[in-house]
């Protein structure tokens, strides 16, 4: 999903790509169980990506994609600037 989060793409492109990935992995209906995330800003989610979401991804937006499988869920906060992607939730190693 991070790979698809590019300026100029639509939110639904990311959503569609995630559904394809689920299907390829053998879990075609898993995405129905929980939304997959979307843009964040002044709410935990501003726009949750879904069907027909033609919102264009622009530099300046931040995203929290949260694909899950069963009880497991991953989620990072991704910032998209003119310079590219930045993962802001990174734990010091």
């Amino acid at each position: 999903m991070h790979e698809r989060t590019r300026a100029g793409a639509r939110l639904r492109d990311v959503f569609d790509a995630a559904r394809r990935a689920y299907a390829e992995a053998g879990y075609p209906d898993e995405w129905r169980r929980l939304h997959l995330g979307g843009t964040i800003g002044y709410q935990p989610r501003e726009v949750v990506a879904s069907f027909d979401d033609d919102d264009i991804i622009e530099p300046g937006m931040a995203f929290a994609w949260n694909p899950s499988l069963g009880a497991a869920k991953v989620e990072d906060t991704l910032l998209l600037t003119a310079a590219g992607q930045e993962l802001v939730t990174r734990v010091a190693e």
Binding site: A7, G8, T39, I40, G41, Y42, Q43, P44, E46, V47, D55, E58, P59, G60, M61, A62, A64, N66, A71, A72, K73, V74, E75, D76, T77, L79, T81, A82, A83, G84, E86, L87, V88, T89, R90, V91, A92, E93
Partner: protein
């Protein structure tokens, strides 16, 4: 090598030094080839010319055909203001450049009030530029300008049309003027928030021509000539991330910034700035100004939304909207409450913070310090009701959630800070770590038990889902929805740790 940077939101990475084609205006083919040789030597990849730069386009054409059109981001300009003239000139530029499209078409020096109105009129030059873009003759549209009033004019232009780039004078001499500097900062902030590429000119200005102006100068100003001074001046521009430097119109002067751009910054730069009378504003001042500009722009955005619905007033109480509009204050007392202790009342010409007398002082001195919202305070026992006809948070939410998704650079900074601070946090003196288990877990309480933090430095990442871009007052731990480190896909399935580790 001269570094590259994203040219605004175009998706193109340009070298931060852009070749200014004005230098080729009166050049012979041989002279032009020598100047363009520098483009290759320093691996520049962005050429900027204009229909009005004498023979510049004609000189570039054969060279471009030889070196390969697709290797360069090619920009030109039209100075015409009517639709028909601009349409013809854009096509003429393509023929002169020997190409089927340019990457950027710019409205040239669009500053004068009358010309500006004409260019934006239905039969104006902008329509020709948009048509050219739609027809594939140009990929992006920009606007350029000279003079002292260009900064304000560019902001007005950006309010009228989403230009992909701007171009204006930027140098220490002009920035020594506080008014010009403030305008420049406001324009840069606006451009950064919208992904508009920022091109600068006149980087090597010493001063306006004084007594010894040559008969036919090739620059509008007296340029610096000392190479060390040029180095400093170039560094002055390139020292600021996000700015591009377009080289000068004098053939001699044009080459020197290119060479200077490769050199390392010099420690004497601050002294030189001080001597030029240029004082960088403090971080606090800059932050307040950014915040004020953003807040104003956001109020304008709400007014646009209102106009589109045929309304003129909004009364917004939700903390998310208060925080977005004020770029960071949510006037919160109770976390579980959707609304804060203040509302923003936006009218056609006003934007006020409405609150109770008990909160007014605190809001003015803390949350809203540095902003220019008037505060209207009423005693708690007077009912606060939504003014008749005003749109509410709920009315505008579907549009506002999209607008709120576009964050400004200062909000990016806050996010980075929050992410880094949360990432370095050590709950109970330990570091977060990836959690994995070899047995099925059925409830989140299982995960909490299984994945108690241990003293480990192997963790990479965990969830920070409800990060709030606006918050400057809350502690980061409060913002982490989940205190549990979560497993990243594809990592080793090491058995989960026990508390004894």
């Amino acid at each position: 090598m001269i570094p590259s940077a994203p040219f605004g939101r175009t998706g193109h990475e340009s070298r931060r030094t852009i070749f200014g084609g004005a230098a080729l205006g009166k050049a012979t083919d041989a002279e032009a080839d020598r100047a363009l040789e520098l483009v290759l030597r320093y691996q520049l990849d962005h050429l900027d010319t204009a229909a009005s730069y004498g023979d510049s386009e004609l000189r570039i054409a054969p060279w471009l055909a030889r070196e390969g059109r697709d290797r360069f981001f090619l920009a030109t300009k039209t100075g015409k203001r009517t639709y028909a003239e601009a349409r013809d000139e854009i096509r003429l530029s393509l023929r002169r450049l020997g190409t089927d499209h340019v990457d950027l078409i710019q409205l040239h020096n669009l500053v004068d009030e009358g010309e500006w109105r004409q260019a934006f009129a239905p039969d104006g030059a902008l329509r020709a530029a948009v048509e050219a873009r739609d027809a594939g003759l140009a990929r992006f549209i920009g606007v350029t300008g000279h003079g002292l009033s260009v900064l304000r004019r560019h902001r007005e232009s950006l309010e009228r049309f989403p230009f992909d780039s701007v171009l204006f004078p930027y140098n220490a001499t002009q920035l020594a003027d506080p008014a010009y500097r403030d305008e420049a900062e406001a324009l840069i902030a606006l451009c950064e928030s919208r992904g508009v590429a920022i091109q600068t000119i006149k980087s090597i200005t010493l001063a306006p021509w004084s007594g010894e102006r040559p008969d036919r100068p090739s620059t509008w100003y007296e340029p610096l000539t000392d190479q060390h001074a040029i180095d400093l001046a170039v560094r002055f521009v390139l020292g600021r991330p996000g700015l591009f430097l377009n080289t000068a119109s004098s053939r001699r002067s044009s080459t020197r910034p290119i060479a200077a751009a490769r050199r390392r910054p010099t420690p004497r730069w601050p002294n030189w700035c001080a001597r030029a009378g240029w004082r960088p504003c403090s971080r606090k001042e800059a932050a307040d100004r950014d915040r004020t500009d953003l807040a104003r722009a956001r109020v304008s955005r709400v007014r646009e939304l209102l106009r589109a619905r045929g309304r003129s007033e909004a009364f917004l109480r939700a903390r998310r909207n208060l925080a977005w509009l004020t770029v960071g204050s949510d006037a919160r007392i109770v976390r579980s409450s959707e609304s804060g202790e203040a509302a923003v009342h936006i009218g056609p010409d006003t934007a006020e913070i409405v609150t109770t007398t008990s909160e007014a002082d605190r809001l003015r001195d803390e949350d809203l310090a540095g902003l220019d919202f008037p505060i209207v305070a009423r005693p708690w026992y007077e009912r606060r009701s939504v003014p008749a006809g005003a749109s509410t948070d709920a009315d505008l939410e579907d549009e506002l959630r999209r607008v709120r998704s576009r964050l400004a650079p200062l909000e990016h900074e806050r996010m980075r800070w929050l992410g880094a601070t949360a990432g370095a946090a050590k709950p109970n003196g330990t570091s977060p770590r990836p959690c994995s288990s070899s047995r099925p877990m059925s409830a989140s309480s299982d995960i909490a038990t299984s994945c108690r933090p241990r003293r480990s430095r192997s963790a990479r990442s965990w969830s920070w889902s409800s990060a709030n871009a606006g918050g400057s007052t809350s502690r980061p731990r409060e913002r982490c929805r989940s205190a549990h480190p979560q497993r990243r896909r594809g990592r080793s399935s090491r058995p989960f740790a026990t508390s004894s580790e």
